[in-house]
């Protein structure tokens, strides 16, 4: 399976990784190499095989739908790139993450 540069560009958009045009050819070659190699799985008839969901035979645990953690916005924001408060002068005004403007 060989990937063309347009496909690689499309995957890069889906993955949200900027891929300069100059790098597309090299990446297309590398990814095609890996896809060619995994082609060998097609030799196997898996029409009657169930897909693996878990290697451990266990039922996923359930718990009550109750809040067990939280209530510390300052700790949550300690690593924020650009945390802001509603009011720059009032520490108690709550913290937020910021992103570039998304609404015109």
């Amino acid at each position: 399976m060989s990937l063309d540069q347009a496909t690689v560009a499309r995957i890069a958009v889906l993955a949200r990784i900027k891929l300069p045009e100059a790098e597309r050819e090299k990446m297309a070659k590398e990814l095609s190499g890996i896809l060619d190699w995994v082609e060998m799985l097609k030799d196997l008839d898996t029409s009657k095989v169930e897909a693996m969901t878990s290697t451990v035979e266990m039922v996923l645990p359930q718990r009550a739908d109750k809040v067990t953690d939280g209530g510390y916005p300052a700790a949550v924001l300690t690593n924020a790139t650009e945390p802001v408060r509603i009011s720059q002068t009032d520490d108690s005004s709550g913290g937020f993450f910021t992103v570039p403007k998304v609404v015109e």
């Binding site: 990937l3 790139t81 993450f97």
Partner: protein
């Protein structure tokens, strides 16, 4: 008395309890060793002050006779485990400067057993690699040297952990293993490394790579020390829904040295084309050792072995592309500005991730994308079932499986770097174990013609780490591996 850094964890524990030396003395000895070995680049962050603080607490407890299992034992922590208040990067630029406000369950368990922390150990970026050359913090050097004098890789992804244990700058270390990342580096530096059964150790607070394969485990100088560490690391954790609610045995007690009548499987499919004669010879030696101890070899077949690596290189990147979607420059880590939200994401991820991580995210995105999901991802999950069933059949014939850990000894830095698939082949013997969720142990067993360590791998039944350790102990005793790296 030997120097403190020459003692195993068991030796440290016994000496500390008998008050032959103090935990602060032990910490200082290791802090000195750490400073002397910076050329290995094993650490991303050193935490000598924290180690001394923790050692003081340990000494106070030991004085009162309240020492816990690992009281005062200095460990290195792979920089994939979140440590409260200490930078955690996963070896990536995208997490440079990230200081977790919480502690991973495994490290919390180790600290609750009295362990102290010397620092955070280098690794391949997001644990993706087999040579520790993809870290944003530079490659790690193997403390062993080859006759031609070239710098060697320590294996990966837990390369810093492996190098630090082998060079005796930590008493033991944590690793994680998604496709061989504990066992292959353990083999490359001549130490013991155990990947537990999937679900044995909590994954909570460990930076996720491929969630259905990732498992934390111990790396230490000998099999007994891995048993001691595993007991402290393992256990059920409600915060990881795949963590299994089973009691944790006292693994050290499994080391009885008795393997009489035990059946060990030799999978014929592991005799791969082009396997070096010295690896084949070591494997044969391992068979002889176990036979001499009274165990019975059984030829077994794991017919889908050759499909394991391609299966892995669909499943692992698919899960990684999903897990690593969280690094978007919004809530933590690197942010590279852009004119729109999407452009900010794209710029951040292009600059923040290294080449191998970008490659795997793109492959993963492709195999999960509309129109290709069935052909790649679903197909791989079906082949995974076949690989899982291979092992289930094998357990009808044997109690444990013996194989080489890796197809070669450590190679030079720069080798295999141009061809991703050549690099991926390092994990040919370790990857099937992760796909089947089984426990695997690498034990140092001999030296290559170049004088480099080689390991043998034991694969166990689910949650039968005890048999694995028992057999590993017998192989270790027979091998009598006493060689030390030049550092």
């Amino acid at each position: 008395m030997a120097t403190l850094t020459d003692l195993t964890i068991a030796g440290l524990r016994d000496g500390l309890r008998a008050r032959k030396f103090s935990a602060v003395e032990v910490a200082d000895a290791y802090i000195g060793a750490m400073a002397k070995n910076r050329h290995l680049n094993a650490f991303i962050v050193e935490t000598p002050d924290l180690a001394r603080e923790q050692a003081k607490v340990a000494d106070a407890r030991l004085a009162k006779g309240e020492g816990r299992d690992l009281e005062g034992v200095p460990l290195g922590i792979k920089d994939l485990f979140c440590t409260k208040g200490v930078q955690t990067t996963a070896g990536s630029n995208i997490l440079k400067g990230f200081v977790p406000p919480y502690e991973s369950t495994v490290t919390a368990n180790l600290f609750a057993a009295g362990a102290t922390m010397l620092g955070k150990l280098n690794l391949d970026e997001f644990a993706m690699g087999s040579a520790n050359i993809t870290s944003a913090f530079g490659h790690v050097k193997n403390p062993w040297t080859r006759k031609d004098g070239k710098d060697l890789v320590p294996g990966g992804s837990s390369g810093g952990s492996a190098a630090a244990v082998a060079a005796r700058i930590v008493a033991g270390a944590t690793g994680t293993d998604t496709g061989g990342s504990i066992r292959q580096p353990a083999s490359f530096v001549g130490i013991a490394g155990l990947k537990p059964t999937y679900g044995r150790c909590s994954r909570w607070g460990i930076v996720a790579f491929a969630s259905s394969l990732d498992q934390a485990g111990p790396m230490a100088r000998d099999v007994r020390d891995t048993a001691i560490l595993l007991k402290a690391m393992a256990g059920h954790d409600p915060k990881d829904s795949t963590s299994v609610p089973r009691p944790v045995p006292d693994y050290e007690k499994a080391l009885t040295g008795d393997v009489k009548g035990l059946r060990f499987g030799i999978p014929k499919e592991y005799r791969v084309d082009g396997m070096p004669a010295e690896i084949e010879k070591l494997w044969q030696q391992g068979i002889e050792w176990l036979k001499a101890a009274g165990a019975i070899p059984v030829e077994i077949s794991l017919p889908h072995t050759k499909y394991a690596l391609p299966t892995y290189y669909i499943i692992a990147p698919a899960e990684a592309s999903s897990n690593l979607a969280r690094y978007d420059g919004v809530r933590y880590g690197l942010r590279v500005p852009g004119n729109s939200l999407d452009e900010m994401y794209e710029n951040t991820r292009a600059q923040g991730f290294g080449a191998e991580v970008r490659r795997r995210i793109l492959i993963g995105t492709y195999v999960l994308s509309a129109g290709y999901y069935d052909a790649y991802y679903l197909k791989a999950q079906k082949v995974r079932t076949l690989i899982f069933n291979d092992f289930r059949e094998a357990w009808k014939q044997c109690d444990v499986v013996l194989t080489p850990t890796a197809p070669s000894a450590a190679f030079a830095i720069g080798d295999k770097q141009d061809d991703p698939i050549a690099m991926y082949l390092n994990d040919v013997f370790t990857v099937p174990v992760n796909l089947a969720g089984l426990p695997g142990l690498s034990v140092p067993a001999g030296l290559s013609a170049d004088g480099l360590p080689l390991g043998l791998q034991l694969i166990g039944k689910p949650f039968d780490e005890e048999t694995l350790l028992r057999v590993g102990g017998v192989v270790e005793t027979a091998a009598n591996f006493t060689a030390r790296p030049g550092v």
